[in-house]
């Protein structure tokens, strides 16, 4: 899906080129070229160029800033709209969960924030700077581990570093560090086929952290795991998050998981996705599995479910099916 020439992806390229040109113009003696109509028009229509830094005193720069992000693709002559104009600010070092019915465009939204898909209109900023394509400031964990089967766990974690051109010593040291961070210190030499599903996904998380992204995106990262393992992973994941301090956006089908992990739960509508609700989770950190029994949490979960019920039956079934499994007595014990 290439960006149209009129899409923001295309114009962003133009924008980048323009910025370079303008810088040259500023550096040299004032030239009539700088006031050429073409440059003026583009610059005027370009908010990012006019004020590349947010005004001082407005508050911290959001880790993620979406403004009117729309995504549509042309299939069999028809435009299909997947994202219908989303506005969103995510505070640094917070965790946001995205829930919504199947096929509503959650994964698409994640790919837009990861720079893998260009927004059809609107803009994406990470740490106050526009996002043009895949970016080392953003790490993405897919639903499946997507490890290279011929590489060891350690070499898989080092893959982004290798692409970024880091030397072997740095790569090996960093890979060992990251594997330790996800509790796989002893498993660096193992091939993916020798690892369990959960271990593979941990390797994938370590890989996504290799370039020290400020933003970590996760697309239903633990959906392939059984519910007990999944719960353990969520606890571990929060511990990991406290150590790395990244901003997290996690897509999930489970309301319980969303509430347990997130500071905010965003509910999306069926396709084309728009924001239906933005529910704050008032639960102190560090969180424990037993916390989910608190009355406030149940109320939050019920609120999210109510918003989701407006969506498809499918999402409703998944949502209600998930919540009780997290409230079994055995798990209430720390």
């Amino acid at each position: 899906m290439e960006a149209g020439t009129d899409g923001p992806f295309g114009s962003l390229h133009v924008r980048r080129r323009l910025r370079c040109r303008l810088r040259v113009v500023h550096a040299g003696p004032s030239s009539p070229r700088a006031r050429s109509p073409r440059v003026m028009v583009t610059a005027e229509s370009d908010r990012a160029l006019r004020d590349p830094l947010p005004a001082i005193g407005v508050g911290p720069v959001p880790a993620i800033h979406l403004e009117g992000v729309r995504f549509a693709f042309r299939g069999s002559g028809r435009q299909t709209e997947v994202l219908a104009g989303l506005d969103l600010d995510v505070a640094p070092r917070s965790i946001v969960a995205l829930v919504g019915p199947n096929g509503c465009g959650k994964s698409t939204l994640l790919r837009v924030i990861a720079g893998l898909l260009p927004a059809s209109t609107g803009m994406v900023e990470v740490e106050g700077r526009p996002l043009i394509g895949p970016d080392s400031r953003v790490g993405l964990v897919f639903q499946e581990p997507r490890l290279l089967p011929w590489r060891s766990a350690s070499a898989n974690v080092a893959f982004p570093l290798e692409i970024a051109g880091r030397d072997r010593v740095t790569r090996e040291r960093r890979a060992a560090e990251l594997l330790g961070l996800v509790g796989l210190r002893e498993w660096g030499r193992a091939r993916p086929a020798e690892l369990s599903g959960g271990m593979r996904q941990r390797v994938a998380i370590a890989r996504a952290l290799a370039l020290e992204p400020a933003v970590l995106l996760l697309d239903e990262p633990f959906s392939a795991l059984d519910s007990l393992t999944r719960e353990r992973f969520n606890v571990e994941f929060l511990r990991l998050w406290e150590r790395i301090g990244a901003t997290i956006v996690v897509v999930t089908h489970s309301i319980a998981e969303a509430v347990f992990l997130a500071d905010r739960v965003l509910v999306l509508s069926p396709r084309p996705a728009r924001l239906v609700a933005d529910v704050a989770v008032d639960l102190p950190r560090p969180r424990r599995p037993g916390d989910l029994d608190a009355a406030g949490v149940t109320r939050t979960a019920a609120e999210i479910r109510a918003h989701l019920e407006g969506a498809t039956d499918d999402a409703f079934a998944v949502a209600t099916g998930d919540v009780p499994s997290h409230r079994q007595p055995s798990e209430a014990v720390e």
Binding site: F142, R146, L148, W150, F159, P160, I163, R191, A193, L211
Partner: protein
């Protein structure tokens, strides 16, 4: 056990040789029609001992080596381009298939006419015959590379050459090696066919000599045995390489 893996093939070989010898005795065939295995074996050893075989083997191996390397390399390159460029695929595919539909046996005399009958002309025929299976298996293998892995690589801003070197090539390698396995046996065929159409050295030439001016039918059989052994050896080498790169599926 090793014994279980070695004994049955050896027994089968012994049975085959015995049946062959029996057929020669029973039919009372003269040596110039069907020599027995013992006669062929003696001639095989003698031809190697007196230096008859060596220059021909060296020539044929050189043709196979150069032709296989060139044809396989070109095949992989073409296969990759065809797999990744739909334009190239649409433009070139029909010619590729048409070229392959023409038997190499019919093409060989033309090649001899154009390029003579030396080492390079023969290597060219070998390259032609190796090219197609390698190209096709490369197309299939590259198409089969998991798109999800490619997307993963793209999320880390992989360059085109990095993508090829670090993702596509290793992922497609098993499929490409399968094509090389077919290609290497065809390379032997190509070399012999090329030598039949002209030249003064090579195992194909030796076959013609043994059947014609020398009228040494045991030598003809000894040459066939040599060719078969070369084929098995080359095939085994590719198989070993394949084993070395085999990766358990994730």
């Amino acid at each position: 056990m090793i014994r279980d893996r070695v004994v049955p093939p050896l027994l089968a070989l012994a049975a085959f040789l015995a049946a062959w010898q029996l057929l020669v005795f029973a039919g009372n065939y003269p040596t110039f029609i069907l020599p027995g295995p013992l006669v062929v074996g003696q001639r095989f050893v003698a031809a190697w001992a007196d230096g008859t075989m060596e220059p021909h083997v060296a020539m044929t191996l050189a043709e196979i080596g150069i032709g296989f390397a060139g044809g396989a390399l070109a095949g992989m390159l073409a296969g990759y381009v065809l797999a990744r460029s739909s334009l190239a695929n649409r433009v070139a595919s029909p010619y590729l298939v048409a070229a392959q539909a023409v038997p190499i046996l019919a093409l060989a005399p033309l090649m001899a006419l154009w390029f003579g009958s030396g080492l390079l002309a023969h290597a060219l025929i070998v390259a032609l015959i190796v090219f197609f299976p390698v190209a096709i298996s490369t197309v299939v293998a590259v198409h089969g590379v998991d798109r999800r892995l490619l997307e993963m690589a793209r999320s880390y801003r992989v360059t085109r050459s990095q993508r090829l070197r670090l993702v596509e090539l290793p992922a497609a390698l098993p499929g490409i090696l399968g094509g090389l396995r077919i290609g290497v046996t065809l390379a032997v065929v190509g070399a012999i066919v090329a030598e039949w159409t002209g030249g003064d050295t090579g195992l194909g030439v030796l076959i013609n000599l043994a059947r014609g001016s020398l009228f040494d039918i045991p030598l003809l059989f000894a040459t066939l045995l040599t060719i078969a052994l070369i084929g098995v050896a080359l095939y085994s080498i590719v198989l070993l390489v394949e084993r070395h790169y085999a990766v358990p599926p994730a």
